[in-house]
């Protein structure tokens, strides 16, 4: 089985596992224990990891707040900024193609009386900057626009949105989960106030992430998870030391290997796209071809029922155009203007560090075989193929 679902998660790099291991057993201390060596050791490891994460994102170490993952980081950013916002700012601007870990906390604000603007995207998946500018008002507390989309891989022009948000006194948050380790991320150059990250998308462990909080912006956050005062009061709870160490190590590896790896993976992705067009035919790319993550390819297949396509695909692990939780089509693909059938007949390929040229060849042939076979058994393949380019 060829794993081509690196947007869902990635395997933990063996070098990362190696770095984590001592912190489960011998160096098991609580990073907030101040009175003995066990605590100091854990604290040191956490601070080293904080510097490693900060280095990869272009932040200062004190600007990194560890969380249990990106869902929590998004929640801290959105619910936290909302809770601390002045009473005359009760408006949040986001985009229809955001991950549900952004949309849900925004909608939660909507349910408590906030105004929520979910901006549409164009057929390539990009948000219109003029529309962003128009949406932000003096009553806007927060703008949240993701850097790289988890389904179609397109990169939003976050750096150009920053001045628009700041001109109105709003905070800018970006969910940069899918970008980190795949393309350069520099929070200072982006000009964001808040940015979310997750270790398991870059060959680190699951259940650990971080929120970048620009210096000074912590005063504009009211932490939803409070307790022992960890993470400067922004996120209570005993630190996940092995996980955090793993996140740091993963950032360290990514920083060193990203330029070569991005080129390699990008070339494989281009090869996959070419082979699918040649061998399967009747395929179209969902989302802009650029700017896009190098390892992402999202295609819709004409003249085919998506569910039977996916049931037929036994040799590759890819993700479907269905929302992960149901047979409903993905809200991202629907936001591009696809109809339901086309959205469901879409495949998301996520290439990664372990992907080889042989994998790509095998994947393309397998997809072509299954597509041919499902089309052959269809009474309407020709008819549907003609109308499915939407």
């Amino acid at each position: 089985m060829v794993y081509l679902d690196h947007h869902a998660t990635t395997p933990v790099d063996p070098r990362v596992v190696e770095a984590m291991l001592p912190y489960f057993t011998v160096a098991f201390g609580n990073a907030t224990s101040r009175t003995h060596r066990f605590g100091w050791e854990a604290r040191e490891a956490v601070e080293r990891a904080r510097r490693q994460v900060a280095l990869l994102i272009g932040a200062g170490a004190r600007e990194v707040v560890f969380t249990s993952g990106a869902t929590e980081a998004n929640h801290l950013a959105i619910a936290g900024a909302a809770a601390a916002a002045p009473t005359d700012r009760r408006h949040v601007v986001t985009v229809a193609t955001e991950h549900r870990a952004v949309l849900e906390p925004c909608r939660q604000l909507g349910a408590s009386g906030w105004t929520v603007t979910e901006l549409p995207v164009d057929p390539t998946g990009l948000v219109d900057l003029d529309a962003v500018a128009r949406a932000i008002t003096p009553g806007t507390a927060l703008v949240s626009v993701m850097l790289a989309n988890n389904e179609i891989g397109v990169l939003q022009a976050v750096a150009e949105i920053a001045p628009l948000a700041h001109a109105r006194g709003a905070l800018l948050h970006t969910d940069a989960v899918q970008a980190l380790g795949r393309v350069p991320v520099d929070v200072a150059a982006l000009g964001v106030d808040l940015a979310s990250f997750s270790a398991h998308k870059l060959y680190g462990p699951k259940g650990v992430g971080a929120l970048y909080v620009k210096r000074g912006v912590e005063k504009r956050l009211a932490a939803p998870v409070r307790g022992g005062g960890q993470e400067r009061g922004l996120r209570g709870g005993t630190l996940n030391v092995p996980g955090i160490v793993g996140f740091g190590a993963a950032c360290d590896v990514a920083g060193r290997e990203m330029p070569d790896e991005a080129r390699r993976v990008g070339a494989l992705r281009d090869r996959l796209w070419q082979l699918l067009q040649e061998r399967a035919g009747g395929v179209s790319m969902n989302g802009a071809s650029a700017p896009r993550l190098p390892g992402n390819l999202n295609v819709r297949v004409a003249g085919i029922d998506g569910e039977s396509l996916h049931v037929g695909l036994t040799e590759i692990a890819v993700s479907s155009g269905a929302a992960c939780t149901s047979a409903e089509p993905s809200h991202v693909l629907m936001a591009l203007g696809l109809d339901k059938t086309a959205a469901l007949a879409s495949l998301r390929f996520g290439l990664g560090r372990g992907t080889t040229a042989a994998d790509i060849d095998r994947a393309a042939s397998h997809v072509a075989d299954v597509v041919a076979h499902v089309r052959r058994s269809s009474p309407v393949a020709r008819l549907a193929a003609a109308g499915a380019g939407r």
Binding site: D305, S308, V311, A384
Partner: protein, 127 residues
Amino acid sequence: MYSAAVLDRVRNPRRVGEWPAGQTDVGTGEAGTLDDGTTVRIQVRVSAGRIVEARFKVFGCSASIASAALVAEWLEGATLDEGRRLTPGRVVDALSLPAERAHVARVAVDAARKALDDVTEKAERRP
């Protein structure tokens, strides 16, 4: 999520195909619409009151492919009356279809009944 009976029929379909609908010993039935997401075409070739061969084509989910394949399987060798006694319930049971997919078994059975009606009508029209 799906039973082995479904997966096998999706991955190794037998009896996929079509004959020219005009042939006098061939009955053709279609049911379902693309808007509903499932359309099935079943064809039967009849000789001396017995279905000697059946073919199907499907646009739809894997449950619909498996349903049409199973219906075609059952029709082969059956008399026209036996073919008419096929019910969606039997298809659902044989394939252990999840409840939310049960309606596609009805589409397959409807197509089969129309195919049987078609070939019967053709036989009656013959001098």
